[in-house]
C-alpha cells in the first residue's frame, strides 16, 4: 500500500531532494545526517576505528602471552604504570582481554556489521526512499558513538577499564573493590552498554518496520535478497534478546550501587564479610546468556546474508536452495533462544536440563550445515569471478565450517566438562564468529564499496589483504585447539607458572608472531579503504553485474535514492546465467515480457494467463525458426 502511494509522488520528491542537497550544511550532511546511506558510512567508519583499537589491544596481550618473561621498555613509554618495567601488569592484562572482547563482539560485529549493512542495504535493496524513521536512525548512530566514547574513556581512569571479562559475571563485576577494574571502569562499561543497547534497539526496530512496510511494488517477501532476510531476522533477534540484557544489567547496577543482593551471597573481601546475602550469581548467567547466545547469531547472520549475495553474484549462478536458506535462517533464529544453557553446563545445572540444552544445541547445527552445503553447491561449477569480496565470502564459508565443527564438541555436555574455559573455546568462537563474521563484513565492504563511495577499491591490495587475513587467522587460532585439549585455561596471564603449560610457550610465541603479521596485513586494507574513498577508480553503476535493486540507483548519491520513480520488481534476485537468456544476469527490475526466451513456467507461479502468453510466444518462435531454416 505505502509503496504504491510513494510511487506516484516521486517526481515531486525527486526534484525536492535535489534542491535539498544544495541547502545541506556540513553539519546536516556529514554529522547529524538522517540519510540512511550516510548513517551506514558513519557506522562503518566508526566500526573500522573500533576494530583497529580492538585488534591493537589483542596485539598487546599477545605480546604478554608470547614473551611473558621479556621486558619491552617501549610498552612502559606508552602505557606508563600499566606496564611498569616494560611488562604488562596482570590487572591491565585482564582489562585488555575484557575490552578486546567487548569491542569486537558489540561494537564491531554487532553495530559495525548490522549497523552498516542494514542501513545501507535495506532501503536500497527493497526500493525505499529511506528508513521508517530517519530521526530514530540518526539517534541510533549517535547513541552508538556515545557508547564508543564512554567505553574508550574508561582507559583514562585511575583504576583502568573493566576487567571481569566481556561476560561481566558477578561477583567480580558487582563488587567495586573486587579488582581494580571493577571500580569506575566497570561503571563506565555498564553505562556504555546501556547506550549501546538503546542504539541497537532503535536500529533493530527501524529495520523491521522498514522491511515489513516499505518494500517497493512487486517486492514480496519471497523476492527479497538473502541479505535482507538475514538482516531482518538479525533485527528480530536483537529486539527479543537485548531487553533481557537490560534486565540483567540493571539488576547488576542495583547490586553494585544500591547494596541489593540479586546476585551476591556469602562473600568475604579482604577479611571482611559483606552484608549481601541470599543472591544467586547463576541468575546473572541465565539473563546474560539469554542475550549472549542470540548475540552470536546477531553477529554471524548478517555475514551469512552478505555471503549469500556475494557468492551468487560472483559464481554467476542462482543461490542454491533459496527457500532452504531462508528457512534455515528462521530455524537458527528460533533455536538460538533455547540453547543458552550450553554456556552453563558446569555451573551445577541439573544434568537433565544440560541434556535438553545439548540436544537443542546439536539441532541448531542442522540449519547451519544446510547453509554451508548450499554455499558449496552454489560455488559448484559456477563461472567464478575471484573478486576480493568473493574471496572473503569463501573465507567465511571456510571459517564457518572449521569453527562450526568444534561447536559440536563444545555443545556436548559431557565433553564440556573437560573443554570449558580452555583455549579450545577461544579457538572455537574466534573461528566461527570472529573470523567468519569479520570475513563476511570485509566481503560486504569490498562488494558494496562502489555503492557507498562511488569508487572502486584496489583489487591487488584486496588480494594481499585476504591472504594475510585468511592464513593469519588460521595460524593464530588453529593451534589453540590443541592447547585447549591439553587443558590450558583461557584468560590466564602467564603460563610460565604452571609446569604442564610450559611446553606451550613456543606455540604461544608462534601465535603471537602470526597475530602481529596478520595485523600488519590489515594496514593494506586500511590504506586501500581510506585512499580509495578519495582517489579510487570511479565506479560504474553496476560494477559486479548484479541483479539487486541497489545497482539501479545512480552512482552519485541523492537523498531519496532514485531520481524518478522507484523501480518495480518483477522477479527474484538470483537470475544469473538463466538458460535461454542472451546475458548472464537479469536484474529484478526486468519484467518477464522482456525475457521471453528465458522464461520457465515456474516463473509464473501458476498464473494461467501468463503461461498461455508464454506458450503462444514459444510456438511463434518455433514457427519462425522453422521458417528461417527453410529459407
Amino acid at each position: 500500500m505505502s509503496s504504491t502511494a510513494i510511487n506516484h509522488t516521486l517526481e515531486h520528491s525527486g526534484h525536492a531532494h535535489d534542491e535539498h542537497a544544495h541547502h545541506q550544511s556540513f553539519l546536516t550532511k556529514y554529522i547529524f545526517s538522517t540519510d540512511h546511506k550516510m548513517i551506514a558510512k558513519q557506522f562503518l567508519i566508526t566500526g573500522i576505528i573500533m576494530a583497529v583499537i580492538g585488534m591493537f589491544l589483542s596485539i598487546l596481550f599477545r605480546i604478554q602471552l608470547g614473551w611473558p618473561d621479556q621486558s619491552f621498555p617501549l610498552l612502559e613509554t606508552f602505557l606508563g604504570k600499566w606496564a611498569e618495567g616494560g611488562r604488562i601488569k596482570p590487572d591491565f592484562y585482564l582489562s585488555l582481554v575484557t575490552i578486546h572482547g567487548t569491542i569486537m563482539v558489540f561494537f564491531v560485529l554487532t553495530a559495525g556489521l548490522s549497523g552498516t549493512f542494514s542501513n545501507l542495504l535495506i532501503p536500497l535493496q527493497l526500493g525505499a526512499r529511506d528508513m521508517a524513521s530517519p530521526l530514530v536512525n540518526m539517534l541510533s548512530y549517535w547513541f552508538f558513538f556515545t557508547a564508543c566514547v564512554i567505553m574508550m574513556g574508561s582507559f583514562f581512569t585511575e583504576t583502568g577499564p573493566a576487567s571481569a571479562g566481556w561476560t561481566i559475571y558477578p561477583p567480580l563485576s558487582a563488587l567495586p573493590k573486587a579488582i581494580s577494574g571493577s571500580g569506575i571502569g566497570m561503571t563506565l562499561w555498564l553505562i556504555s552498554m546501556v547506550f549501546f543497547i538503546a542504539s541497537s534497539l532503535m536500529g533493530a526496530l527501524n529495520y523491521i518496520s522498514t522491511i515489513l512496510n516499505m518494500r517497493t511494488k512487486g517486492m514480496d517477501l519471497w523476492k527479497m535478497p538473502l541479505t535482507i532476510w538475514a538482516l531482518f531476522l538479525t533485527a528480530i533477534l536483537g529486539t527479543l534478546s537485548f531487553p533481557v540484557l537490560v534486565a540483567g544489567v540493571v539488576l547488576l547496577i542495583f547490586d553494585r550501587s544500591f547494596g541489593t543482593s540479586f546476585y551476591l551471597s556469602d562473600l568475604v573481601v579482604q577479611g571482611q564479610i559483606l552484608p549481601q546475602q541470599g543472591g544467586s550469581p547463576i541468575l546473572f548467567q541465565h539473563l546474560f546468556w539469554f542475550l549472549g547466545h542470540p548475540e552470536v547469531y546477531i553477529v554471524i547472520m548478517p555475514a551469512l546474508g552478505i555471503t549469500s549475495e556475494v557468492i551468487a553474484t560472483n559464481s554467476r549462478k542462482p543461490i542454491f536452495g533459496y527457500h532452504a536458506m531462508v528457512y534455515s535462517l528462521i530455524g537458527i533464529t528460533v533455536l538460538s533462544f533455547i540453547v543458552w544453557g550450553h554456556h552453563m553446563f558446569v555451573t551445577g545445572m541439573s544434568p537433565f536440563l544440560g541434556g535438553v540444552f545439548m540436544i537443542t544445541t546439536l539441532i541448531i547445527a542442522v540449519p547451519s550445515a544446510v547453509k554451508t552445503f548450499n554455499y558449496l553447491a552454489t560455488l559448484w561449477r559456477g563461472n567464478i569471478r575471484f573478486t576480493p569480496a568473493m574471496l572473503f565470502a569463501i573465507g567465511l564459508v571456510s571459517f564457518f565450517i572449521s569453527g562450526g565443527l568444534t561447536g559440536i564438541f563444545l555443545g556436548n555436555a559431557a565433553l564440556d566438562i573437560n573443554l570449558h574455559d580452555t583455549y579450545f573455546v577461544v579457538a572455537h568462537f574466534h573461528l566461527v564468529m570472529g573470523s567468519a563474521a569479520i570475513c563476511g563484513m570485509l566481503s560486504g565492504v569490498y562488494h558494496w564499496f562502489p555503492k557507498m563511495f562511488g569508487r572502486m577499491m584496489d583489487e591487488k591490495l584486496g588480494y594481499l589483504h585476504f591472504w594475510f587475513t585468511f592464513i593469519g587467522a588460521y595460524l593464530v587460532f588453529f593451534p589453540m585447539h590443541f592447547m585447549g585439549l591439553d587443558g590450558v585455561p583461557r584468560r590466564y596471564y602467564a603460563f610460565t607458572e604452571f609446569e604442564f603449560m610450559k611446553e606451550w610457550l613456543t606455540v604461544n610465541t608462534f601465535i603471537s608472531w602470526a597475530a602481529i603479521i596478520s595485523a600488519l596485513g590489515q594496514v593494506a586494507f586500511l590504506w586501500n579503504f581510506f585512499h580509495s574513498i578519495f582517489y579510487g577508480k570511479r565506479a560504474t553503476q553496476n560494477p559486479w553485474q548484479s541483479n539487486t535493486l541497489e545497482w539501479t540507483t545512480p552512482v552519485e548519491h541523492l537523498h531519496g535514492n532514485w531520481p524518478g520513480e522507484i523501480p518495480t520488481v518483477y522477479r527474484w534476485p538470483y537470475d544469473y546465467s538463466k538458460p535461454g537468456s542472451p546475458v548472464d544476469f537479469i536484474p529484478q527490475t526486468i519484467p518477464f515480457s522482456e525475457t521471453m526466451s528465458s522464461n520457465f513456467s515456474h516463473d509464473f507461479e501458476g498464473n494461467p494467463e501468463a503461461e498461455r502468453i508464454q506458450l503462444e510466444w514459444q510456438k511463434n518462435d518455433e514457427a519462425e525458426r522453422l521458417a528461417e531454416d527453410k529459407v
Binding site: 500500500m1 531487553p243 537490560v246
Partner: protein, 195 residues
Amino acid sequence: MLYMTKIPLEQEIQSLKPKKFLMWLFIITSCMLFAALTSAYIVYTGGNPTRGIKVQLPVAFLYSSCLIIISSLTMHYAFKATKELQFAKQRLFLALTILLGFAFFASQWIAWTVLFESGAPFVNSNASESFIYVFSAFHILHIFAGIGMMVYTFIKQNKGIPQYRNMFNMELTSLFWHFLDILWIYLYVFLLLNQ
C-alpha cells in the same frame, strides 16, 4: 526542512504507517523486558523456601490497579473525541488521564513506603522482595514516558496541527497507554500469585 514542506500530504500520511508500526515493535521489546524480569524472579525464587515474597502486598497496589484502569477509560474517551473532532473534549480527557497517571505514581510511591515499613525493604537479603520494587520502578519509567507522550499530544493539539497528525499522536499515545495498563495488571497478578 525545505523538502519536508514539498512532500505531498498523501505521501507523508503514508509514511506514518511504518512509524506506528515502530510503536508496536517497541511494545514487544517492553514485553521482553518484563518477561525477563519476571522470569528472573521465578528462577531466583525457584522452590527455595527462604526466598519468595513473605509480606502482604500493600493495598495501595490495588488502588494503583483501579486508577490505571480508569485512566485507560479516560484515554479511550480522549481517543474517541479526537476521532469525532471534538477537540475540547479531547484535551479534557487527556488532562484527566495525565492526572490519573500522576495519581498512579503517587499510589505506587505509597505502596513502596508501606512495603518498606512492613519489613520488605529494597535492600534485602531475600531478593524476591527487592524484585517488587524493580517491577514497579521499571513500569513507572514507562508511565513517565506515557505521560510525556500525552503532554506532547496535548501541546501539539493546542497549537493546531493538522488533524491527521493529531490523530496519529493520539493513536500512538493511546496504544502505549493501554499497553501500560495491561502490563501493570500482569505485574499485579504475577505478584498476587507469588505472594
